[in-house]
Every structure is written in structure tokens, then in C-alpha cells.
């Protein structure tokens, strides 16, 4: 299976799996006819390939656009500041909004704040796409999103758990919930939770017993293997591999079942949907799922910005703090990167409805845990928060930083036909200041 996968994969030759064993690496070399493999065989990339074992990501997607002023880049006392004060964090000289007291205590332990994000796109749809893909859409290429790329890089072919799980909330709406595996193909697409907290088609239908379900899968395997025995095709192999993962994935349904979590732990996270999904996310990464996205909506506070953020930022503060503590206590945070991300931030100007509008010129993102220099702050907006005056960062740099934190070479190429497509746009540099 390994050989045929390597030989037939369009996208890369030197996958992580290639490096797991000497014989596999040799097999990879035999077919290493493209630039990707040649690059990948040079250290320090090789070292990174080995290091990134078991890395995970939880993306907290703040749909609609969270306000940086009411979260990680407050401007108290300025005309743009709004009613909330700022509070001192555990890092000397670093203050965040008073709506985040629990996170303030934890910044120094877990988190880097990136304040100079300037992405220049204030349209929900295309900005959300950009922040999922790490680049602008291009007419001729359908790029994979962050989750699909991480699934490709960190997932295992025979994994018994999903590679990429995405929760969306009813308020975000399916139309806005972006998920695309693009040219990587559906193999790396998200397991999308459209209703409730459990993925579709993971549970056996009541009409069939578990034994029958297993036995018919065995019979299927027999027919399918007989057919495949005299034929060679990567596509055909992928069909059988997909079916061979079914039973394992079904067994992972318990990961989505919160009743299996002790009550005190559930109480710690709290009763909201976002809290429950974050707790499931922790269960998933603990079981080896490489990428989980949890969306919380709807931060799009054109009116009543301060009430909205009082509710949503307060919830974020509690849930994210609980999640980070929980991951830390289980020894998972060193391997798990927790990201807060939106399509954009919100205007410093407060409008007539006491709201803030779309604003993509100076907003904030946080990275916590795996590979991150904790307590660091990168970038600076001016005194009213109108523009970035130091350390401007766009989507590609942010993605490069995320890949680097996970030990993934952000310059590595995929290939679509003859065209090499690097994970992040050519020439992009990660933000070294926030990397451990």
C-alpha cells in the first residue's frame, strides 16, 4: 500500500510516512523524481518531518469577526476604546481587555498574541475564505484549507480516527462555514458536523446488528479483494482503504459522546454548545485527530457591539482558559496548537448603533501551545487602533507560522499537474518572534 501510494500520489512523494522507516524512505527515494522530495531530503526539513509526530491543532473560529478592541488589543481611554477597561496579563507590560480575566492570567503560560494582522479584506465570504486558505482564491486552482493541509501532513493513512473534524454552529450557517480540501481531494476533507455534536453516518442503523454489520463488511472485503488482486490502481486501493477505516471511525463515535466525560469536567467547561464542542475537541485530539475546528458565532456586531462582546468574549475567556488548562494538565498542550482566528476584526470607530463594522487593517490572532513562544506579543497598532505601526502580518505569514509551529515545512510543494504549489505563497516568512 505504501509503495503504491507513494508512486501514485500526485501531490508529494516525501510524505511523513516516508520517513517513518528506513525501508519506506528507500522506497520513497526510488520514486523521488520531483522537487518536493529533493527538498524534503535535505535537513533540517528531515528533522522537522520526524519532530512533527503527533502534533495537533484546535482552531477556534470566531465567525463574523471578533473585535480586537474587546479582546486582545484594547485601547482604553481613547475615543475608539469603548466602555471596557484593560487589565494586566501575567506578562509584564502586556494588557488585554477586561472581558478576558482568565486568559489574562494564562497568556504568559500558554499564548502568543499577534496584534498587527492586516489582511485588507472586509467582506465576510472572501475574507473567511482567505483566512481558511491562507491565501487569496485563484480562478484556476482550488486550494485546500488549513484543516485539509494539516490532515494531509499529520494524518495517518490507516488512522482509526478522523483526520479533520469541523463543527459549525447554527448561527454561523452552513453557507458561511468554509471547508474545502481543494486539489488534495475529498480524502482530506472535513468530517462535517451539520447537526448536533456527532458526525453523520458514524452510527450503525438500528436495523442491522453489529455482528451483521461486521460480517457484511468482511464479505465486501472478500469480493473487493478478489477483484483487486489482478489489478493495479491507486484509485481502486483508496476505495478499499476508505472502507477499511469505517469500523474504526464508527468506534470513534464515543469520542463525540460527552456522557462519557466525568461530570466535574463537563461542569468545568460549562453548559454552552461552544464549551461542549471544545470539550469534544479535546477528546478528539487526545485520541489522535490532527485537526479540529470549532466555530463560535456570530461576532458580527454592527449594532450593540459591547453587549455582544460581553457575552461572547466572556464565554471565550472561560472556555478557552478551561481548554488550555485541560490540555496542559493532560500533557497535550506541548503537542497541540490552539488558534483563535476570524475573517477580520472590527472598526475602531464606533457607529451610531453602538456597533463596530468590518475591519481588516489591524486586528489580532492568538496562538497557544505547541511550538509557540508563550507570553510573546508580535506587532502593534497605533494608539486608536486604526493601523499597524509595527510587525504587520498577512494571512500567508500567519499560516507559515502555524506550519512552523507544527514542524511542517511551509515551503514544501504540492503539485497540481506540473505546477508546484507551496503550502504558503513563495517567499513567505513565518513570524519567528512568536515561535519557540
Amino acid at each position: 500500500m505504501l509503495n503504491s501510494e507513494i508512486r501514485n500520489s500526485k501531490f508529494e512523494v516525501a510524505s511523513r510516512r516516508t520517513f517513518l522507516g528506513a525501508s519506506a524512505a528507500a522506497a520513497g527515494l526510488t520514486f523521488a523524481a520531483d522537487m518536493t522530495a529533493l527538498n524534503a531530503l535535505q535537513s533540517p526539513v528531515l528533522a522537522n518531518e520526524l519532530k512533527k509526530n503527533d502534533k495537533r491543532v484546535i482552531l477556534l473560529w470566531l465567525a463574523g469577526g471578533a473585535s480586537q478592541l474587546e479582546t486582545f488589543d484594547p485601547k482604553p481611554g481613547r475615543p475608539t476604546g469603548g466602555p471596557f477597561k484593560s487589565i494586566q496579563t501575567s506578562v509584564p507590560g502586556v494588557q488585554i481587555c477586561e472581558l478576558l480575566p482568565k486568559l489574562a492570567d494564562r497568556i504568559g503560560k500558554y499564548t502568543a498574541i499577534i496584534r498587527g494582522v492586516d489582511t485588507g479584506n472586509g467582506d465576510h465570504g472572501s475574507a473567511a475564505r482567505m483566512m481558511h486558505l491562507g491565501r487569496r482564491d485563484e480562478p484556476s486552482v482550488r486550494y485546500p484549507d488549513l484543516g485539509a493541509m494539516v490532515a494531509r501532513e499529520l494524518g495517518k493513512a490507516d488512522s482509526q480516527v478522523p483526520d479533520y473534524v469541523s463543527f459549525y454552529t447554527a448561527t454561523e450557517g452552513r453557507g458561511n462555514a468554509i471547508s474545502q480540501s481543494g486539489f488534495l481531494g475529498a480524502r482530506y476533507g472535513a468530517m462535517f458536523l451539520t447537526e448536533g455534536n456527532s458526525p453523520p453516518n458514524l452510527r450503525r442503523l438500528e436495523e442491522i446488528t453489529d455482528l451483521d454489520h461486521q460480517e457484511r463488511a468482511d464479505l465486501r472485503r472478500l469480493f473487493s479483494d478478489r477483484f483487486a488482486r489482478t489489478r493495479q490502481s491507486a484509485s481502486l486501493s483508496s476505495h478499499n482503504e476508505a472502507y477499511s477505516r469505517v469500523r474504526g471511525l464508527m468506534a470513534s463515535e464515543k469520542l463525540f459522546d460527552l456522557s462519557q466525560e466525568p461530570t466535574p469536567m463537563r461542569d468545568k467547561y460549562g453548559p454552552t454548545l461552544f464549551a461542549e464542542q471544545c470539550l469534544i475537541a479535546r477528546r478528539l485530539v487526545e485520541a489522535g485527530v490532527p485537526f479540529v475546528k470549532v466555530s463560535r458565532a456570530w461576532w458580527d456586531s454592527h449594532g450593540q457591539n459591547f453587549e455582544t462582546h460581553l457575552e461572547l468574549a466572556t464565554e471565550l475567556d472561560h472556555v478557552m482558559s478551561t481548554l488550555l488548562d485541560d490540555l496542559q494538565e493532560r500533557g497535550l498542550l506541548d503537542h497541540t496548537l490552539v488558534i483563535t482566528l476570524s475573517e477580520f476584526g472590527r472598526t475602531p470607530q464606533i457607529n451610531a448603533s453602538l456597533g463596530r463594522d468590518h475591519f481588516a487593517s489591524a486586528w489580532s490572532v492568538t496562538l497557544s501551545g505547541c511550538g509557540i513562544k508563550r507570553g510573546s506579543v508580535h506587532g502593534k497598532s497605533d494608539e486608536d487602533g486604526n493601523k499597524v505601526i509595527e510587525g504587520k502580518v498577512g494571512a500567508p505569514q500567519l499560516f507559515a507560522t502555524i506550519f512552523q509551529a507544527l514542524g511542517i515545512d511551509h515551503q514544501k510543494n504540492y503539485h497540481v499537474g506540473a505546477r508546484p504549489l507551496p503550502l504558503t505563497d513563495p517567499g513567505t516568512q513565518p513570524i519567528r518572534e512568536v515561535l519557540a
Binding site: 480562478p139 481531494g185 475529498a186 453516518n201 464479505l219 465486501r220 469480493f223 489489478r231 476505495h239 497540481v416
Partner: protein, 541 residues
């Protein structure tokens, strides 16, 4: 396939002078397509010292041909009748009979619509269906899609190709280049093309200029008679694009003048009115899109247009294009069989761009008819030799219909069914098959089946309700009624796999059914499920 090779291969080839096959060296034009195809493929095999796999057996070939031409597997009755026929000419007769059916038009329309419109939210199926019924030549379809059909004031026909992309000129430029000319010029948008030294930003913006005057207003599109594309070079220099085709040919055109502000205001007002009254703007007296047709179809130049459609159809029927990737048909990416491509492109041009003619020729070739079986202990020859049939995933449309046909009771398709009634029932299956088809991914190059698909088939009630439900027209119900187990097993295999059973399969089924003897109806449902979901059903082999 084997994609890792492409880049290095191309760099190597970039320095090689490419032979495109001068007409006088080609086989005579009077040869049949299938002869020409086999001649050139056999020549390459001989040169490389590779022996072609034997021809596939009758039933394998029947299944393959029906999937390609009419989009479904044969019924058990059709399979048995074909196997029993001793007519020496049965293969040609089959191909000609299938190509004359309404199902042929439906299948080809679905495929061509998917080719042209995937990635847009619109469909050209009605237009393509009507065109295929009349066997409208491909160059005429190209013209109608780019400049519109005569008498289509509502713009609901072919022009939807442009209309669905009018908001994004870059996408329109890229898609038109890829779909009609087999080249992706978007690599030359921000810098000169990295793989094709002769393609510069001027080529990209030259191609974009054909579409840059196209605009949409309400439900309609129109074209202005002025407007120049301006772009920035890598050096930061600002340049006006010339109207330039892929060959580098610059088209001369009537002088155009940018209107003054008042004229622009008037124009805007007029468009607003048109939008309100839901009317199409008047046709432009001078159309750059019409110039694209003119230069794109011009004889005597490098035949991008003819080569591209040949490559597309070849790819669909053979599992791999003569040039891969399909959108890199330029001088620096040599075809696997340059003379064959040149011969077929010439044939396309001299036979009025007749898509049926090419399809028929490919399907009747020996190359198409080879077996897909290969001894696993030997290394598989390169796909580009076409020495072994390439296994192709079914499109959602083919798979959806075929599953329904396979899961229907053989009594629903008796051997003596009249042709009209058979087509009616098949149409029912096609309609019903769309439900499952809608959940499946359209396969691209190097397609990998997703675990979502396996989970859908394993656990969704959609599959249970549509393929495994009780009913006298359903296969599992019929099988449970058959008293002799051996007969039931044979019926199942014929119905689903369109061939006689292998001993190994009978033994496995026997064991499974024996174990579940207490619940025969349920046992048959699960056995049918196991057969329907195996690789043999999922692929065109």
C-alpha cells in the same frame, strides 16, 4: 497518474525540440480512426519493447462500453444476450446501436456539461442535450457558447457558458483557455510562464482582452466596444495589453475610444434601464469574443482547439490524456503519442469537429478494448503506453444509475422488454440514482475515494432505503424468493457484476448465506450490499 514525474520531465523536455507531426508524415487521412489509433499505439509499444495486455472478454467490454456510451452497466438480460450472441460483428453493432439511443445523448450531455460547467453554479445540460441530439459540430458549439446562439434573446442557451463567469474575467479567461484550447495561461498572470518560456504576461493579458469588454447586467451579458486591459509587469511597469492569441498572433482591430464622463453616465443609465426592464443589451457591432472564434478556429495555425477536444475525449474514454495534464497542451509538454494526436486533430478538423466520430473510433480500437487485469508480480507498464486498460472511477451519474440497475430485480428488466420501455425504465433508474449521486464527489485526476463515501454507504438510511428496501422490483426481495440457493447466487452475480460467478465467490456467498439461514431476506440484503459496495461496482475497468 505518476504525477511526481511531471515537473522534472517537463524541465527536461523544455530543451527538446518538439515534433508536432507534420501532415505529410502522418498516416493517410482515409484510414479509419481505430486503425490509426492502433497503428500509433502499437508502434510506441514496439519501440519500448512492451507487450500489450490481451483484449478484455466480451462481458467486460460490454460493461465498459455501456458505461462510457450510455452511462450505466448492462442489465443481466443484456449481458446474457451479448455473451450468447455468435455474430462476428456484434461489437461494432453494439457500439452503433448504443450511439443511436437517447441514453447516449443523456450520458454524453451529462459528461460534457460536467466538463464545461463544474465550478460554476449553472448548467448547460439543456443546450448540450439539444446540440448532441442534432450532432452539432464542436466548433459550432464553441461559437455558440462564446458569442451566443442565434435567436436566443433570453440568453438562456449556450451563452450561459460566458454568463456564469462574467463577474470574474480572470476565471473566464482561464476556463476558456483550459476547456477550449487545453492550456492554462493563468500561470503567466503574475509573471512570465515558468514552464513555457514563450508565454509571457502579454499572452495572459492578451487572452484576457478577448473577454475584458464583456459585462453582466441583471440576468444578461453584453459587450462594450471599448476598453483596454492594463497590467503591471514584474518590474512594476504599467502596460496596455494587445489583443493576442496563444500563438502570439496580435489581432488588428478598429480603433476604440474611451468615452468621456457624460457618455459613460449615459451608458450607465441605459444599462440601469435595461436591468429594470429585464432586457438584454444590444449586441456589440464589434465583438472581441467573436475575434476569439475567428483566430481560435483559423486553419493552418497550431490547432489548439482540435487537439484539446481530442485530448479531453481521449482522457475520458482511456483514463489518461495523450497530453497530461489536460491543461498543459503546449510545445514544452510532449504528448505520449505526438503523431497520433496530430492525426486525430487533423481528422477532427476535416470531419466537421464530429464528436461522435471520434468517440466511435476510440471505442472501436484494440487499445480501448484491452483488459485491465495485470499480473501483480510484474511491474505495471507506464499508463501513457495504454498497454493495459486504465481503471477509472465512475462519475457520480454513472455510479448512481448503475447501482440502481444492479439493485433492481432482473424481472424489472426482462429479456423481451421493448426498446422504448427499456429506455423508460432506465430513465427512472437515472432519476432515482441522482439522489445518491448528489452525495458523491466528481472524480478528478488521481481520484481518491473519501471515507465520507464509505461511511455513507455503510450507515446512511439513504442507501438502505434506495438500494436495499423490500419490493418486488428490488433484487434482494427477488433473491430471497428463489428456492435454489445456487440459482439465487448466480442471479445476484449476473445482476450486479454482469458476468458469471467465480467459484470463490459462490463459496463465500454460500458460507455467508448458510450462516444467516434463519433470516434469509435480511441475509440477502447484506450480501447484495457487500457486492454493490465492492470495487468492481465502483469502477469502470
Amino acid at each position: 497518474m505518476r504525477g511526481g514525474w511531471h515537473l522534472s520531465l517537463m524541465f527536461a523536455l523544455a530543451t527538446v525540440l518538439v515534433k508536432t507531426g507534420a501532415a505529410d508524415e502522418l498516416l493517410p487521412a482515409e484510414k479509419s480512426l481505430e486503425e490509426a489509433i492502433d497503428h500509433y499505439l502499437d508502434a510506441r509499444l514496439a519501440k519500448d519493447g512492451v507487450t500489450a495486455a490481451p483484449q478484455a472478454n466480451d462481458l467486460n467490454l460490454l460493461r465498459r462500453t455501456m458505461l462510457d456510451l450510455v452511462g450505466r452497466i448492462p442489465t443481466a438480460a443484456e449481458a446474457k444476450a451479448y455473451a450468447a450472441s455468435t455474430d462476428a460483428n456484434k461489437r461494432v453493432a453494439l457500439v452503433d446501436r448504443l450511439m443511436a439511443t437517447p441514453a447516449f445523448v443523456r450520458q454524453q450531455a451529462a459528461e460534457i456539461d460536467a466538463l464545461l460547467m463544474r465550478g460554476t453554479n449553472q448548467s448547460l445540460k439543456d443546450y448540450v442535450t439539444a446540440s448532441l441530439e442534432k450532432n452539432v459540430p464542436w466548433d459550432q458549439m464553441f461559437r455558440e457558447m462564446v458569442v451566443g446562439q442565434e435567436g436566443d434573446a433570453e440568453q438562456k442557451g449556450a451563452i450561459k457558458f460566458i454568463r456564469s463567469r462574467a463577474k470574474d474575467t480572470d476565471k473566464l479567461t482561464t476556463d476558456a483557455g483550459v476547456l477550449f484550447f487545453g492550456v492554462n495561461v493563468s500561470c503567466a498572470k503574475c509573471h512570465d510562464h515558468p514552464l513555457v518560456p514563450t508565454w509571457t504576461q502579454e499572452h495572459y493579458f492578451g487572452m484576457k482582452s478577448f473577454f475584458s469588454r464583456t459585462y453582466d447586467v441583471g440576468e444578461f451579458i453584453g459587450e462594450k466596444e471599448y476598453g483596454i486591459v492594463n497590467y503591471k509587469t514584474v518590474q512594476g511597469e504599467s502596460k496596455d495589453a494587445r489583443l493576442m492569441f496563444l500563438t502570439g498572433e496580435v489581432l488588428t482591430e478598429p480603433e476604440s475610444k474611451e468615452p468621456d464622463d457624460n457618455a459613460k453616465k449615459d451608458e450607465k443609465k441605459k444599462l440601469e434601464e435595461l436591468k429594470k426592464s429585464k432586457q438584454a443589451p444590444p449586441a456589440a457591432a464589434y465583438s472581441r469574443r467573436a475575434r476569439l472564434i475567428e483566430v481560435g478556429l483559423k486553419e493552418g495555425t497550431y490547432p489548439y482547439f482540435a487537439r484539446s477536444i481530442v485530448n479531453q475525449l481521449w482522457n475520458r474514454l482511456m483514463g489518461r490524456g495523450l497530453v497530461m495534464p489536460l491543461d498543459q497542451m503546449h510545445d514544452h509538454n510532449q504528448p505520449s503519442h505526438p503523431d497520433l494526436l496530430a492525426w486525430l486533430a487533423r481528422d477532427m478538423q476535416t470531419h466537421k469537429y464530429d464528436l461522435r466520430r471520434l468517440m466511435r473510433g476510440i471505442v472501436l480500437s484494440k487499445a480501448y478494448s484491452r483488459t485491465s487485469e495485470w499480473d501483480g508480480s510484474k511491474e505495471l507498464p507506464a499508463d501513457e503506453l495504454f498497454s493495459v486498460a486504465i481503471i477509472r472511477p465512475l462519475t457520480p451519474w454513472q455510479y448512481g444509475t448503475s447501482l440502481r440497475v444492479a439493485a433492481a430485480s432482473p424481472e424489472f428488466f426482462p429479456a423481451d422488454l421493448k426498446e422504448d420501455e427499456l429506455d423508460n425504465r432506465i430513465k427512472q433508474m437515472e432519476g432515482a440514482g441522482r439522489n445518491i449521486a448528489g452525495s458523491l464527489e466528481y472524480p478528478g485526476d488521481d481520484f481518491q475515494v473519501s471515507v465520507d463515501e464509505a461511511l455513507l454507504f455503510s450507515n446512511s438510511d439513504k442507501v438502505k432505503n434506495e438500494l436495499l428496501r423490500d419490493g418486488k422490483e428490488m433484487l434482494p426481495t427477488k433473491l430471497a424468493e428463489i428456492k435454489e440457493r445456487r440459482e439465487a447466487m448466480e442471479t445476484a452475480i449476473w445482476n450486479i457484476y454482469c458476468r458469471p460467478p467465480a467459484d470463490e465467490e459462490l463459496a463465500a456467498l454460500e458460507q455467508f448465506l448458510h450462516k444467516h439461514e434463519d433470516q434469509p431476506a435480511q441475509a440477502w440484503k447484506q450480501a447484495v450490499w457487500a457486492m454493490l459496495t465492492s470495487g468492481e461496482c465502483r469502477f469502470n475497468y
